[in-house]
């Protein structure tokens, strides 16, 4: 479960990115986080992944209190999350299999676990036959599916996707979002940051709209509110 209570965040340069946000995302939910550029969406992601600390308020993620988390606990908290980026962030000199094995090793998985888990996850994202390919040999949609597989491979409680369809055409975007919905149906909480109104409307999930560091709308069924700009 993710819970933000009166969270405020101001960067060192004086920019106030988040102004008293409170929200709760229950286990197993699928949530779209939408809003115009500079609205504070990316800051929320950074707060959730422990990259930045809030100036005020409390943040709880999957049992960890991020507001006063110790350095030793941060890796443990991050293991409960799977993060997907717009630019995929795959390691180009490693094969698809090795990209996944790499993050499993990083959390101390044994070779046997790695051998068993990776084929299952690649099959789930429809890339069972691409294990030995390098990222540069794959299309954008396939690369993003590898990124999803990588986020899933350590079996996190929550997947956080930051503009996952930003570099994909509409068909691939729809396909990818469908995949995230399927992952959600298997029990994983999914938080998707996006500015694609059509996608948001198509899936009819909970939508939290952020603007100028405030939550201006939190409802189910589609985008409500002002214009969303990339």
């Amino acid at each position: 479960m993710i819970r933000l209570k009166d969270v405020e965040m101001e960067y060192d340069n004086g920019t106030k990115a988040i102004r008293g946000i409170s929200l709760t995302i229950e286990d197993g939910e699928f949530v779209f986080l939408v809003g115009p550029s500079g609205s504070g969406k990316s800051t929320i992601i950074k707060l959730l992944t422990g990259e930045v600390e809030p100036c005020a308020g409390r943040i709880m993620i999957n049992g960890f209190s991020v507001s006063n988390i110790s350095d030793r606990q941060i890796p443990l908290m991050r293991r409960t999350l799977g993060v997907i980026f717009q630019d995929f962030r795959l390691i180009e000199k490693k094969t698809v299999y090795d990209n996944l094995a790499f993050v499993m090793r990083a959390v101390g998985a044994a070779p046997k676990q790695i051998r068993e888990r990776i084929p299952y996850v690649l099959d789930l994202v429809g890339l069972a036959d691409k294990a030995d390919s390098y990222p540069t040999e794959l299309s954008g949609g396939e690369q993003q599916r590898v990124a999803i597989a990588r986020a899933l491979v350590n079996n996190p409680d929550t997947i956080i996707a930051d503009e996952p369809t930003g570099n994909l055409d509409p068909e691939r975007s729809l396909e990818l979002m469908g995949l995230l919905v399927r992952i959600n149906e298997l029990g994983t909480t999914v938080v998707v940051v996006t500015h694609e109104k059509d996608l948001v409307d198509h899936f009819g999930k909970r939508v939290i709209t952020i603007d100028s560091g405030h939550v201006i709308n939190d409802s189910v069924g589609g985008y409500v509110g002002g214009h969303i700009h990339g």
Binding site: I74, P75, R78, R79, G82, G108, N154
Partner: protein, 295 residues
């Protein structure tokens, strides 16, 4: 650490090392240079120390007894001399014994064979414990009533002490300077590796790898630089030492100096080189990786 983790760190460390060939070569090279210079000065200091010890054992001060003292009075001085601190032993040599020794040195000189022992003085051959305090000891011997004259080779002792002191100071200064230089170069080499792999490090942090897990391959790389540098430096040091020892043995003047055989001290030398190499390598890598691990 699990076995599979160790294999992973070893593999990553080794591949990091080969991915920046020239800088790795520079890092190992500077470690070799550092250890070699450090080792050479230490070995010179060790040999000077050994020579000093030999000299302490062989060096004798001759204290001549006043002419007015008869044999019994002269022998009575032994207790006084032996009670002086830093006197290891005081051996009485009578005029007659001294004359016999003198004659023995010139068996072919008939002119010396009929000399009267009375022209010589009774004397004490004094061995001292610590050569560095020879001057004070000589003064104390000279101050004993009944001692007429003291002969001591203070310049030789002083020379060796100077060599040892200079070698020690230069050695410590060079070790400190080269140590810092080596750590700096290794640190920069590993910074290149970390910069090259910053994406991987960012991903590892994002998925919840501990700082220890991220750090280990770089520490292993630094360890490899250090241990490789130590091995090469040890072999070069051995060769250099043997060549110098051979040169000393073949030189008419220098052959009086006894050089400690390398085989007698290879274990401490190897252990010291390995320890210094590992400290330089691991220290350099830890300093390089530090800023990448800030959460």
């Amino acid at each position: 650490m699990a076995k599979h983790d160790f294999q992973y760190f070893a593999h990553e460390g080794l591949s990091n090392m080969f991915s920046h060939g020239f800088m790795s070569f520079a890092a190992v090279g500077i470690t070799v240079a550092c250890l070699l210079i450090m080792g050479t000065f230490t070995l010179v200091a060790l040999n000077a120390n050994q020579l000093l010890r030999d000299l302490e054992q062989e060096n004798e001060i001759l204290a001549y007894v006043d002419d007015s003292y008869d044999g019994t009075q002269a022998r009575a001085l032994q207790k006084k001399l032996q009670s002086i601190p830093n006197v290891a032993s005081a051996t009485f040599i009578s005029k007659e014994e001294a004359m016999e020794t003198f004659k023995a040195q010139y068996p072919d000189e008939t002119l010396f064979q009929d000399l009267d022992p009375e022209i010589l003085r009774d004397r004490y051959a004094i061995k001292i414990a610590d050569l560095r305090q020879q001057k004070q000891t000589v003064e104390q011997v000279r101050a004993v009533e009944g001692v007429a004259k003291v002969n001591a080779y203070e310049e030789i002792a002083g020379g060796f002490i100077t060599v040892r002191n200079v070698a020690t100071v230069v050695c410590v200064a060079l070790i400190a300077i080269l140590f810092v230089v080596s750590v700096f170069i290794i640190s920069n080499t590993i910074k290149l590796t970390t910069f090259d792999r910053r994406e991987e490090i960012a991903i590892m942090r994002m998925v919840g790898a501990t700082n220890g897990f991220i750090r280990w391959p770089f520490v292993y790389e630094g360890f490899l630089f250090g241990i490789l540098g130590a091995a090469v430096a040890f072999l070069l040091q051995w060769g250099l030492y043997e060549a110098v020892a051979q040169g000393v043995a073949n030189n008419d003047t220098l052959q009086l100096i006894s050089v400690i055989p390398f085989t007698e001290m290879w274990i401490p030398v190897a252990v010291s080189f390995a320890a210094a190499g590992v400290i330089i390598g691991v220290g350099g890598s830890l300093s390089a990786i530090r800023k990448f691990l800030q959460v």
